[in-house]
């Protein structure tokens, strides 16, 4: 079983996918704030290289779910500098697998378009977007130079999968459900290598709009949504 460090374990995403991943890998959880159910985790502050590196020691892979969205200083120090620390430590320790995460950075630009795969990022100057964009460039650079297989999952909405019909609503165009994301993370940990050592993947559970395609995630990772979740949004006709 792979030993995996999960940074940002107490954030808005990780606690929702950890239960489904624990049978797949040996997870070590780390964050600066307590885990929601009080479970013991390691304290790792992304701003401090020594803390990041020490937590990564002995790991086979690292998953970085950390982020600070609004703060003019912390956003740079957690999202950008923190990413540098992860990749630098991976290079130093010989860790060859990193799963990075962040926003898709461009979704609304393409609301009038279809069959959208990888499109140029357009983060703008907001702290969340720009600091994560910079983190992607850092990951891509370190991945190329140190042969660190880096999978970057990009999001534009996450949540609990539906379990009953939803009436009177269309589904969001770029949303992934926890069940699908935990599966994608397991695939990312298992895959031997990705082209150019670094790939970004749209994380989407529903594609019936024919907007954001999963072609790349299917082709490289073997990712497929667990169900055709669009069927929960059917109108009675």
């Amino acid at each position: 079983m792979k030993k995996v460090l999960l940074l940002g374990a107490s954030g808005q995403i990780a606690p929702n996918i950890i239960p489904a991943m624990e049978s797949h890998c040996d997870l070590t959880l780390a964050d600066i704030k307590p885990y929601p159910d009080g479970r013991s985790i390691e304290h790792v502050d992304m701003r401090h290289y020594d803390q990041v590196r020490d937590a990564m020691r002995g790991m086979d892979a690292v998953m970085n779910f950390t982020v600070n969205r609004p703060d003019p200083i912390l956003s740079f120090h957690v999202s950008t500098l923190g990413a540098l620390h992860v990749m630098k430590a991976a290079a130093e320790l010989g860790i060859k697998k990193v799963v990075h995460t962040g926003p898709q950075l461009v979704r609304s630009y393409y609301d009038q378009d279809f069959e959208i795969t990888d499109v140029p990022r357009a983060p703008g100057t907001g702290y969340y977007g720009i600091t994560k964009m910079l983190s992607y460039e850092i990951c891509r650079t370190y991945a190329r130079i140190y042969d660190i297989q880096t999978i970057c999952f990009v999001f534009n909405g996450l949540g609990l999968e539906p379990n009953e019909p939803i009436k009177g609503e269309d589904f969001p165009p770029f949303r992934i459900f926890w069940k699908d994301l935990s599966h994608a993370c397991c695939l990312a940990l298992d895959i031997e290598a990705v082209p150019d050592n670094y790939q970004e993947f749209n994380m989407v559970s529903m594609t019936a709009h024919q907007k954001y395609t999963l072609e790349k995630a299917k082709r490289i990772l073997g990712y497929e949504p667990a169900e055709r979740w669009e069927n929960y949004y059917k109108r009675d006709a």
Binding site: G124, T125, I145, Y146
Partner: protein, 253 residues
Amino acid sequence: MNVLITGAESRLGQAIARELAPGNRLRLWGTGESELDENITYFKGDMRDPDIAWQAVQNMQAIIHTGEPPPNLPEDDLACEQKLLDLATRGTHVLFKAGIEAGIKRFVYGSTLQIFEAYPDDVYISEMWRPMPSTDKFQLTRYLGEMTAREFARDFPVAVTVLRLGKLIAEENASPKNSDLMWVDYRDAARAFRLSLNRDAQSELKWNKRFALHHICADIQNPKYLVGKISGFQLRGFQPQHNFEAIWRGGGA
């Protein structure tokens, strides 16, 4: 024009100040007063402090952010890297944001051509190629500063110009022993900054017209790094004057 020049203590900053001094009012950030000149004022402080950046941009009409690393960087390698990263990313963001809020319309950032060093020497590098920075702290952070600067042209009606500079050197100090395809003379680099201030693109509707990117190095025989060869990427009026003929005529590297 009232122009703020950052990194003014660097050799590049000094060359830009000399180039711009005639006919402009300059505010030099980072250097102490040297010669008494009524058109030059001096400024010091940490760019990452929004209050200081706000003071620096007052009454300015353009910002030249040289991207040059400051003096007195930490000796510790990690601390040095962390500071360079913070200056290039957050520092650039704080400075440009202050400039936007002060109504400045023209911004120029000094990046580096070294982000193409990884490519083999048998290709012609133009602005069309994808950067491949190394993890060298000076190179990678300079590139991240460029990416930070670019986003301001996307979001605001301002002209942002990025100059990817070759390796800076004075032609008279160049030696065939260490000839470099990426050389650019300080004076030519300074001229490129001056010409960039002429760009009047802030009213363009498309962000990629408000943003401009130029490679700046000497125009040598058989160049690897092309200057002004791609339509739409020429810096109007720029022609390098220092082209190291004495070096390259002898065979060079």
